[in-house]
């Protein structure tokens, strides 16, 4: 279990995350949502140790994440931030193999290779395993990075806006795969999302931030309603139910 307790981070004098406390339920997809500059990515970075918090603490299994050894932590929690800027010429297989780095330090044994094969199969990448990353489309590349994280075999997978620059089809593909990771493999996924409807349709829990503060935290159906959304986005957003999914129709809402 990951517990975030009173986390605060300032950049200069401006608090970016202020006194946020959230518990991440295992075996769920938790979406971080909120307007630009709400501090979602910063919060995710602190949970994954990429950033150090000014005050407050993050506990993984009751132990402060700072006290975890790097390799042990890397076997429990993985984070993928916007990865499209990485322009290293690796083949898909080489990249996914690096997911095994915490276990093998780069010398893969047969068990590591099994994880790599499974991860690629899971992400439908087996056919293109020998292609270089710079030969892939944005969606394929994103899938390759997620495959790497799957090969890393962590209980917790943190993703920072994985749908960025993806078209609708690939976005849906990725979200379905994340759903499968949680439902079939029992992983826990924490994801920063911009599109509220992806959060509504695919996540179990939603954490909403605004100006660095936690404004809402609850099950998806508690958050996806016009009242709660008004508090988060300052917009009147009608909700329509469609095949059991709640869709936020925000395109022509009044903005203030």
């Amino acid at each position: 279990m990951i517990e975030i307790k009173g986390l605060t981070k300032q950049f200069g004098k401006k608090p970016v995350v202020e006194d946020v406390s959230v518990t991440i339920e295992p075996g769920t997809i938790t979406s971080f949502i909120g307007p630009n500059g709400a501090g979602k990515s910063t919060l995710l970075s602190m949970v994954s140790r990429l950033l150090e918090a000014d005050t407050g603490e993050v506990l993984l299994d009751q132990n402060n994440v700072k006290k975890w050894k790097s390799t042990e932590f890397a076997k429990r929690v993985s984070i993928l931030r916007q990865a499209n800027y990485i322009n290293v010429r690796l083949t898909v297989r080489e990249l996914v193999s690096f997911g095994r780095y915490p276990y093998s330090k780069g010398r893969l044994n047969s068990e590591d290779n099994k994880f790599v094969d499974q991860a690629m199969e899971y992400m439908n990448l087996t056919d293109m395993q020998d292609m270089y990353l710079d030969e892939l489309s944005g969606g394929q590349k994103q899938r390759a990075f997620i495959a790497m994280v799957i090969a890393q075999d962590t209980d917790y997978i943190l993703l920072d806006e994985p749908l960025n620059n993806l078209d609708m089809k690939h976005s849906v593909q990725i979200m379905k795969i994340l759903r499968k990771l949680v439902d079939d493999l029992g992983r826990t996924v924490v994801i920063v999302l911009h599109d509220i409807n992806f959060a509504s349709v695919y996540s179990d829990r939603i954490v909403a931030l605004k100006n660095g503060k936690l404004v809402k935290n609850g099950a998806t159906n508690e958050i996806i309603n016009s009242d709660a959304l008004r508090d988060i986005y300052d917009m009147d957003i009608p909700i329509q139910e469609q095949n059991g999914c709640r869709i936020c129709v925000y395109f022509n809402s009044q903005t203030s």
Binding site: S48, R49, L50, K69, S70, T71, E72, F73, A74, K75, S78, I79, L80, R81, A83, I86, N87, V88, R89, L90, T91, E94, F98, G99, Y101, P102, K105, G106, Y132, D134, E135, Q152
Partner: protein, 318 residues
């Protein structure tokens, strides 16, 4: 371009290199241990060959490490001020220590090469360049500033001729007793190979490395120390060899990607082959005289570099 092809090319070129030069040496001459030819062979030709191999392998690996760690294909010891800083170090040692020993020169040169490279990496870190082409430009400017400082003080102290000797990369003066420092680069290259996976991971950025549990800063520093060791040994024995650390890793990357574990052997051998060819060309053109290797490297290297720039994308798409 497979590994065995490069290996065969290395062997053939090595043999050619051993048997060309101002004095004609035949295989039969070597049967007589006391002949003048055998002496030349042992004192000049073999040390020269060893120096070419070590310098060629070392500089290419240094370039490869720098390109991986800085995540920029245009960074190399010549385009990041490393060699200029090493030179400045030698000057400082000569200015401040009377009767400076070789060891003191080595230490100063190493420290300056390391600090210079670190400083350049800091600059890269502070200024986020949107266009990768600015990085080598800044590096070259940075190197030139260091170089002008060196030249100025060398001029003041009347030792400018000593300095210009390091400017010119050349194997002409390599004889037994004057190149052995290059052996220090062997353990550096071996270490580079052992750290290959770590460099590749670090090359994908600090966040990526941290996610996999790698201590990024430690790996970065080890990489820079290896680069400084290799650069120092080469500058002090052979002199500056431009382009080598820049184009060789780039060519290998085009064909084999950026997985260092896989590409280090290719990079090493291609560097050796390239330098051997350049040295042999320099020795043949105005035989029995020689053109310094840094000139042939610059001419052949810049041509290859231009082709790479123009055709690079086409290769990458294949």
């Amino acid at each position: 371009m497979r590994l065995w092809m490069l290996l065969i090319a290395t062997i053939i070129l090595s043999i050619v290199s051993l048997f060309i030069g101002a004095i004609d040496i035949r295989l039969s001459d070597l049967l007589d241990w006391k002949s003048e030819e055998t002496q030349i062979f042992l004192i000049s030709r073999i040390p020269r060959l060893v120096a070419i191999i070590l310098a060629g392998a070392g500089m290419s690996i240094a370039g490869l490490i720098m390109q991986a760690l800085s995540r920029n294909k245009f960074v190399s010891p010549t385009t990041a001020g490393t060699l200029d800083a090493a030179k400045l170090g030698i000057l400082i040692s000569m200015l401040f220590i009377t009767n400076v020993t070789y060891t003191e020169q080595i230490i100063f040169s190493f420290i300056f090469a390391l600090l210079g490279t670190l400083l350049f990496m800091q600059i890269l870190d502070r200024i986020k360049f949107t266009d990768a082409i600015f990085v080598p430009l800044i590096g070259i400017m940075f190197g030139n500033i260091l170089s002008s400082i060196t030249t100025f003080f060398a001029y003041e102290a009347d030792i400018i001729q000593n300095i210009s000797a390091w400017l010119m990369g050349s194997f002409t003066l390599i004889i037994a007793g004057r190149y052995e420092l290059l052996y220090v680069s062997i353990p550096a290259v071996i270490l580079a190979y052992l750290y290959a996976n770590k460099f590749t991971v670090a090359g994908m950025g600090e966040e990526f490395a941290k996610n996999l549990g790698l201590s990024y800063k430690v790996v970065l520093n080890i990489g820079l120390i290896l680069v400084a060791i290799i650069s120092t040994t080469v500058v002090l024995t052979v002199g500056m060899i431009p382009f080598l650390g820049l184009i060789v890793p780039n060519i290998v990357s085009l064909y084999f990607g950026d997985n260092l574990r896989k590409t280090i052997p290719h990079t090493m051998l291609l560097g050796v082959v390239f330098l051997l060819v350049c040295d042999i060309v320099g020795r043949i053109i105005i035989h029995p005289y020689e053109i310094p290797v840094n000139i042939t490297v610059a001419v052949i290297g810049s041509a290859i570099f231009l082709i790479m720039l123009f055709r690079g994308r086409a290769y990458a798409k294949k």
